[in-house]
């Protein structure tokens, strides 16, 4: 009898065992906790859930979180595009050092990043004292500190997504546009940006997800209370008010699910595009 299954496949029982193990593992470690979050949040009824979500501290935390991502993400996107553009399209001395530096926030623990900012802006620090004396500005334990810490931690995402694709695309299209008489802005908006838009969107989605969920660095520089972000609020309430903690968690979990859906959509989109091009 001819071998229908193909000579390169493992026997059926091996395949099915491996798939079963993988599915069970995923269910246990990923799906179960997610379901538990929603289960615990709704444990004492919809009213309690809704009250927990609409309490003043929750609304304030949502506000702080939105403000934080509203500032940190656009700035990082702008910076990410600029740094990827300059690293991807030009050659200069110290380029590889700069590329490694951009990864620094990935390499250090967020707690250490937070401590860095405490040292930088805290009392008895040079910068902190100077800002206080000269302008009367306090950074540490304010939302400004939260934004700065979040920016630091989410800094590499956009650059990391854009750099490889910009390097791969090279500068020939830009040169062609220049020969055809386009100026710098026209080249950027008509040639460079359309070529990176999907990678950029992907970077923004990842950056946004990380900014929302950031805990370590923000925890160190924030003082809690009215500066709580959603993550900090969950941490604060989970000992005293478990249901409230889980209720707020559902918000972040929902955002995570939306992020995943967006991410999958963008990945499919780019894969399809590349599939045609190759």
């Amino acid at each position: 009898m001819p071998n229908v299954r193909g000579n390169t496949d493992e026997p059926a029982w091996v395949r099915w065992t491996l798939i079963a193990v993988a599915v069970m593992f995923m269910a246990l470690f990923l799906l179960l906790p997610l379901i538990l979050v929603f289960y615990c949040a709704f444990e004492e009824g919809l009213t309690t859930y809704w009250e927990a979500l609409t309490s003043r501290r929750t609304l304030r935390a949502i506000g702080v979180t939105l403000l934080t991502i509203g500032i940190a993400v656009p700035i990082n996107v702008l910076f990410g595009i600029m740094s990827a553009w300059c690293l991807g399209k030009f050659n200069f001395w110290g380029k590889s050092l700069l590329i490694s530096l951009i990864d620094l926030p990935f390499a250090v623990s967020p707690v250490i990043a937070g401590l860095l900012f405490v040292l930088l802006f805290g009392l008895n620090s040079l910068l902190g004292d100077w800002l206080m004396d000269a302008f009367g500005i306090k950074i540490l334990h304010t939302t400004t500190a939260t934004v700065i810490a979040t920016m630091f931690v989410t800094f590499p995402f956009v650059t990391r997504e854009l750099l490889p694709i910009m390097q791969a695309q090279g500068t020939e299209e830009e040169l062609a546009a220049r020969v055809l008489g386009a100026n710098g802005l026209q080249i950027f908006f008509r040639v460079t940006l359309p070529n990176i838009k999907w990678a950029l969107l992907y970077g923004v989605v990842l950056c946004n997800a990380r900014a929302m969920g950031e805990f370590g660095a923000v925890n160190v520089v924030s003082h809690g209370g009215k500066n709580n972000t959603l993550s900090l609020l969950i941490y604060e309430t989970y000992q005293s008010d478990l249901v409230a903690a889980f209720a707020v968690s559902t918000l972040l979990a929902l955002m995570a699910i939306i992020t995943l859906i967006l991410k999958t959509f963008i990945e499919m989109r780019t894969a399809r595009k590349e599939g045609i091009e190759i």
Binding site: E173, A176, A177, V179, G181, A182, Q186, R190, I276
Partner: protein
């Protein structure tokens, strides 16, 4: 529009890409820059376009006697076709061609109807009017190349520059496209310069060929002249295979195996003699009043329009001769056969690798 470059030097770090190059290209001429990789041909083209800066101390680049030194790339009126086309991958064919018109300042920009008319006219010229709404990745290599050409022509350039225009295409498409480009040039008479490393392409397509080597122009002349009267040993070698002989100089005369070839200029100490395969004759008898050399047939390649015969002289030097199939059957050559070879037209080069004039 004529193009003149004077005393252009360009180095990249320690590498001297162009070494004091001067060139005058007449208005309406189609010129090939021909040379091996690293000879500086692409660098010269990019300097003419303004994509590279010549080293300080170099002479000017003149378009119709106007110095282009201080005009930016986009203001030179140059159409540039990149080696890998550099089409805008996210734009349709139509938008690619329209780009140069759309980015013009408002007061110089044609209205949409005019842009549409001109783009479609150009697409008809490059025979791609049916492909206007396709994306570059949906086109074949030859079609992409023609889009790149239409895009370069859309801005009505004074000068058309093409970097290895057929380099990335397969052999059959190459030949078709270069005949097509020659016809196009005869139609629009735009001063054009293209870079190539393929001598057939240069000789077939160009009005004049600048043969380049190691950052210098070795010869700038018509295809006929560079092929039949190569100025230097390099040109001779680059434009086809050669058979080499070492001549002797005695009493001011160049001789090959005692046979008089030509008078040698004064102070010439060395003479190298080159013979193209189609001018190396094979016979079974000695040819009277000529230089004759014994050689053994080592291999006969007869799959082709002409027959190529490889031989080895008794002193071990390899030789190649080319002949028609008729001549081969007349000679009844076989491997291992002993024959006489006689050079027909001999090119003689002196000490400094330059051709000796008779």
């Amino acid at each position: 529009m004529s193009i003149e470059v004077q005393n252009i030097t360009k180095s990249f770090g320690n590498f001297l890409a162009l070494n004091d190059v001067s060139l005058y290209i007449k208005s309406g001429e189609l010129v090939a820059l021909l040379g091996p990789s690293g000879s500086g041909k692409t660098t010269l083209l990019r300097i003419i376009a303004g994509l590279e800066q010549a080293d300080p101390g170099s002479g000017p680049i003149l378009f119709n006697n106007h110095n282009m030194e201080n005009s930016k790339v986009g203001d030179r009126g140059v159409g540039f076709v990149f080696q890998h086309y550099a089409l805008f991958r996210h734009m349709t064919v139509f938008e690619n061609v329209a780009f140069g018109l759309r980015v013009r300042p408002r007061q110089l920009r044609p209205d949409n109807g005019e842009i549409r008319r001109r783009v479609l006219e150009l697409l008809r010229l490059v025979q791609l009017d049916t492909q206007a709404n396709r994306y570059p990745h949906q086109l074949s290599g030859g079609q992409r190349q023609r889009v790149a050409l239409a895009r370069a022509l859309a801005v009505e350039p004074q000068v058309l520059l093409l970097d290895e225009p057929f380099g990335a295409l397969d052999a059959k498409v190459r030949v078709e496209l270069r005949q097509w480009l020659r016809r196009l040039h005869d139609e629009i008479h735009l001063t054009s310069v293209f870079v190539t490393h393929d001598q057939d392409e240069a000789l077939e397509l160009a009005d004049r060929v600048a043969v380049m080597n190691a950052g210098k122009v070795e010869q700038f002349a018509t295809p006929n002249e560079v092929f039949h009267k190569p100025a230097t040993e390099f040109v001779m070698n680059f434009l086809g295979s050669v058979n080499k002989f070492r001549g002797q100089i005695t009493d001011g005369k160049v001789r090959l195996g005692g046979q008089y070839i030509m008078d040698a200029p004064k102070d010439t100490e060395e003479a190298k003699l080159f013979v193209r395969p189609h001018e190396l004759h094979i016979s079974h008898e000695k040819t009277p009043n000529s230089f004759n050399l014994r050689a053994v047939v080592t291999r006969i390649h007869s799959a082709g329009a002409r027959v190529r015969v490889e031989l080895e002289t008794h002193s071990g030097d390899p030789m190649t001769a080319e002949m028609t199939h008729a001549r081969l059957s007349e000679l009844k050559l076989e491997n291992g056969q002993d024959v006489y070879i006689t050079p027909g037209n001999i090119h003689v080069f002196g000490d400094d690798a330059h051709a000796l004039e008779e």
